[in-house]
Symmetry: C2
Subunit: 180 residues, 2 copies
Amino acid sequence: MHENAQGESIPIRAALEAGDGLEFDLIELFFFAYRDFTSDPDQILSTDGFGRAHHRVLHFVNRMPGLTVAELLDVLKITKQSLARVLKQLIDTGHVVQMKGPKDRRQRELYPTPKGRALALALALPQSRRIRAALQETGPEERALIRRFLKAMVNPELRAQIDRLPHGGAPDVDGEPNDG
Amino acid sequence: MHENAQGESIPIRAALEAGDGLEFDLIELFFFAYRDFTSDPDQILSTDGFGRAHHRVLHFVNRMPGLTVAELLDVLKITKQSLARVLKQLIDTGHVVQMKGPKDRRQRELYPTPKGRALALALALPQSRRIRAALQETGPEERALIRRFLKAMVNPELRAQIDRLPHGGAPDVDGEPNDG
DNA sequence: GAAAATACGTCAGCCTTGTTGACATATCTC
DNA sequence: GAGATATGTCAACAAGGCTGACGTATTTTC
């Protein structure tokens, strides 16, 4: 009776295939795409002794200068102890500076330095190149469509947060009533 | 002279915005989308004491039954020591079985058990639902386009590997001469 | 048929980045 | 002044990457 009622023993030789509403191909593509998407920045970061976590912090501090620690935690969905580790390093290396909040002096507003801005740009460059190259394959007019798809992949509660990020530059925003 | 030539001190107050070929919005959307995309399986896996690494192994063993350890390492791009840890658990829990290669008996072919197949399906379900919901936003006829975009995000060397995965089911494959 | 190469397993230790829990300090609010 | 809030920090732990080293079975090569 310690033999289980099967299920654990016989090997299945048939490949699991798409169909029946199972999107294996897109699941796999998403996995491979994200892995390669993060590989170029990882390369650059490693020379500074940084990792992917530093990248994220640096990115959002550059995108939303003056955001507080609490706001950053809310964007990244990590604990303050996790954040503290990498944020401290970014501050010590002069990529990010903290300033007491002018209204509430318990808060710490985070700003990039020129050095931090430069690194953020350097990290965004290969990722942007990759995206543009991919859009080349679909036709660049599909940018809005890709954006809509990715946004719809995000949990609804979090989409509001995304809308709060600066939009500037790109001409073809979604249907949202965002840019005046 | 231990003051640096600036760059590390002054806080920048202007937000980094898209434009100049910098695709900040898509970069962020990709990050948020992937995070949420992996969150549903993570939930399920945690009840078995498994993590994301188990998911990947289980997924590809189900998609390519009989693949060898070396082949799996090549797909996942991790070291055999990393793989060993999670693979052992999947075998011990009866989700995966090993069989000596019939031609080369040094090899170990990996197969899912019914139990392993069931878990793989359970993990693919919420991810597939999310993808279908997102395709609803773009119009489901754009599936091929999304696929083309994601594939183009993958490093060229690796795209061949993707083509070797089973395609079945989905009616609108890309231009590739794949389905006879 | 011996020697070398290959496929795999395993031991040991390290790193990054996430987690929880506890506690200190400054500041704001009531 | 009391209590809530924003942040920092210490300590310990877990997952899942990594390197290096070594053992064993099997195949290939000379």
